[in-house]
Symmetry: C2
Subunit: 452 residues, 2 copies
Amino acid sequence: MRVLVIGGDATGMSSASQLKRRLGDSVDITVLNDQRWTSYSACGIPYWVAGEVAGGPDSLVARSPEKHRANGLDVRIGISATRIDPDNQQVSAVEVTDASAVSTFDYDHLIIATGARPLAPPIPGIDIPGVLRTHTLDDGLVAIDALEETPRNAVVVGAGFIGVEMAEACVQRELQTTVLDLAPEPMVVMDPDMGSLISKAMADHGVTFRGQEPAAEFVAGPDGRVASVRTASGDYPADIVFLGLGVRPRTELAAAAGLPTGSSGGIQIDDHCRVQGYENIWAGGDCVETRHRVSGEPVYVPLGTHANKHGRVIGLNLSGEDAVFPGIVGTAITKFMSTEIARVGLTEQQATQLGRDVTTASIVTSTKAGYFSDAEPMRVKVVADCEDGRVLGCQIVGGVSAGKRIDSAATAVWNSMTASEVVDLDLSYAPPFSGVWEPFQIAARQVLAKLR
Amino acid sequence: MRVLVIGGDATGMSSASQLKRRLGDSVDITVLNDQRWTSYSACGIPYWVAGEVAGGPDSLVARSPEKHRANGLDVRIGISATRIDPDNQQVSAVEVTDASAVSTFDYDHLIIATGARPLAPPIPGIDIPGVLRTHTLDDGLVAIDALEETPRNAVVVGAGFIGVEMAEACVQRELQTTVLDLAPEPMVVMDPDMGSLISKAMADHGVTFRGQEPAAEFVAGPDGRVASVRTASGDYPADIVFLGLGVRPRTELAAAAGLPTGSSGGIQIDDHCRVQGYENIWAGGDCVETRHRVSGEPVYVPLGTHANKHGRVIGLNLSGEDAVFPGIVGTAITKFMSTEIARVGLTEQQATQLGRDVTTASIVTSTKAGYFSDAEPMRVKVVADCEDGRVLGCQIVGGVSAGKRIDSAATAVWNSMTASEVVDLDLSYAPPFSGVWEPFQIAARQVLAKLR
């Protein structure tokens, strides 16, 4: 069996590795990768740029092309796929450094793991030097080089996950930092009442957050490098700019080949990670849509954790097992300095937009029993369906140890638990870890009282 | 309606408060409490003794008798119940300081919340001064007084939750500390391979753990205070001794009245927290047995979190709702210094004793992505049923942030999830919080591989 993989990161390499481990010599696997690195942690780039990760880009590489080759995978570096031909089961490619060096690859099964690319809207000046992305390891190298020039003022454009993490990196690098966003508060995956705690945390660390104030222009200085960012309300000095405007699925190849894509642009796959309607084409990771188990809708949620699970499922299926990817519940976590931020399921806004009649409760408690002097505040918001009492989502913003508590909420949402069932849960308690009722359960109790 | 409550801590006061809040003047509630304090955090005593909680015993009191009285509860302090007469719906009591001052209380409903008392086996010398308990706030005051005398050597007898927490308190107080236990490793609620990580953490902090070496005698010095602890293997100098030998339900009154008790001595209740066979007697907290949802067996697990839930359920039921306490899954957490310790469900030993055919996986990973210099090791062990793949239990020992991850495992065990379903779960990931696969899922994957 000849398996061709386009893309050498999470989905691509974990499916290839899984498959090789299980089928050995009976499968030939070729991986086309247009980057230098394979299997790296893109999520780690903000922390590397912040200076929290020792070493060069290799520190973020879980497995290099050489190691993959040693495991029997034919990993081609600097090769960019240019065309998928499903009818003839063939992919064309060129060398990244030489577009005339065309080659073709036949396959029995194709795995599309082309990932995502950062959004770059046509804002004037977006391409001038000093306006940076942090999507790839090469982006990270450029950013670290730019930081060597000892900038003083930074502007972060966009306050989603990458924006918040790059704002933290700027604080770690002791830059005077402004964060601009279209929305009124950071992190639109949270409700604004929760997001306001994040802008407060930013202010506490000297970061200026400006909501409803998108970047209108990047202005170069006399040296041609970025000098400021212009908005409708003013100019912000910027020796360095980080873009965190979100990503889009890289699915031009797939779309050109006629493969189905959804409204997000992500490839549409079935619950086995097969491209819908294609027996021998598989896809996963940041280039696909997945099913949200709470809304039932297809969603585009590019995250390393899903990408790895997709890879595992594809590898298992190609090796003869019957493996299913049963969807996601929208779990996510990040932090800004010591403020941890996490969410799962639907926010109040999302649920309302989906026409659900919901009740919410938002409580403030502490990360340890209140009598500890180092207990830190944490806020938990629970969203529940008025009809059946089911917990649709949970959001957490709080001090150290607050964030990872989202995982019990995620497991509860995954299992369609009601607020009443959540109150019953046997969650862990000792004074250094929480009050006697776990915060998620305190919020669930309040929801329950409202539902009654 | 006249409701009489015996015991003024978690179950007693939360049921009484719940009921008063809901029924107001239509219920008369009298609480008999043989201690000075109500509604206090016994779990906080080790941290208070360690010096980590500012202030006196009041710091650990969530609600004082005066506050409860202001809420309309007739809280009697220093009154000890001596007899329950179910036929005549009457309880006799005496004053703690005057056994001849007998009074009787009639009730329509009785709530038994008598709690537990520490085990004190007939070890010679167990009552000499300096051999201390940490069960009540008064115990804590005695311990803090004793620490004022600047002891140098401490022995902790018993390495369960209280023993481990008191060993930490001794380290915080800069005492030379030895911990003795009957079992080979600390924390018999963990498997020995996990327990060995705890004795290692103790050694790292200069604490000597001696397993399979129970205390045989407490030896007094010339001043009559404890001077050493004798075992079969030697003598350990001790200016202060903390007993952590576990607790027994305080159910002498209940048993004398003919109420049903189980093999643990705990009162047998139904899923509404009614004493089995009695329409108008309720019980909860450290004096009852509860149902373990994994084994299906009645178990005795005295913990504040269950006690509070029992109180809530009793309060709701007495106020006309239909509330159920659906059992526990044996979730527990503690820590020794920066080593966090948590468990849920059945250990390998427990499952084997129950005749289950189990597979286990024990993995070592880190609390953050491996490329963070401050990532700390954590070990996770998962126990699964070979027959249906169901996760029966999980144990965690690891650095800061490791422990609270037990809650997602607890939610999974609560929902009877299989190892395969656990691998599918959408748990949170960002590099400062974990590797791309949550440790619980890595262990579940290994279990799954073994099951196949």
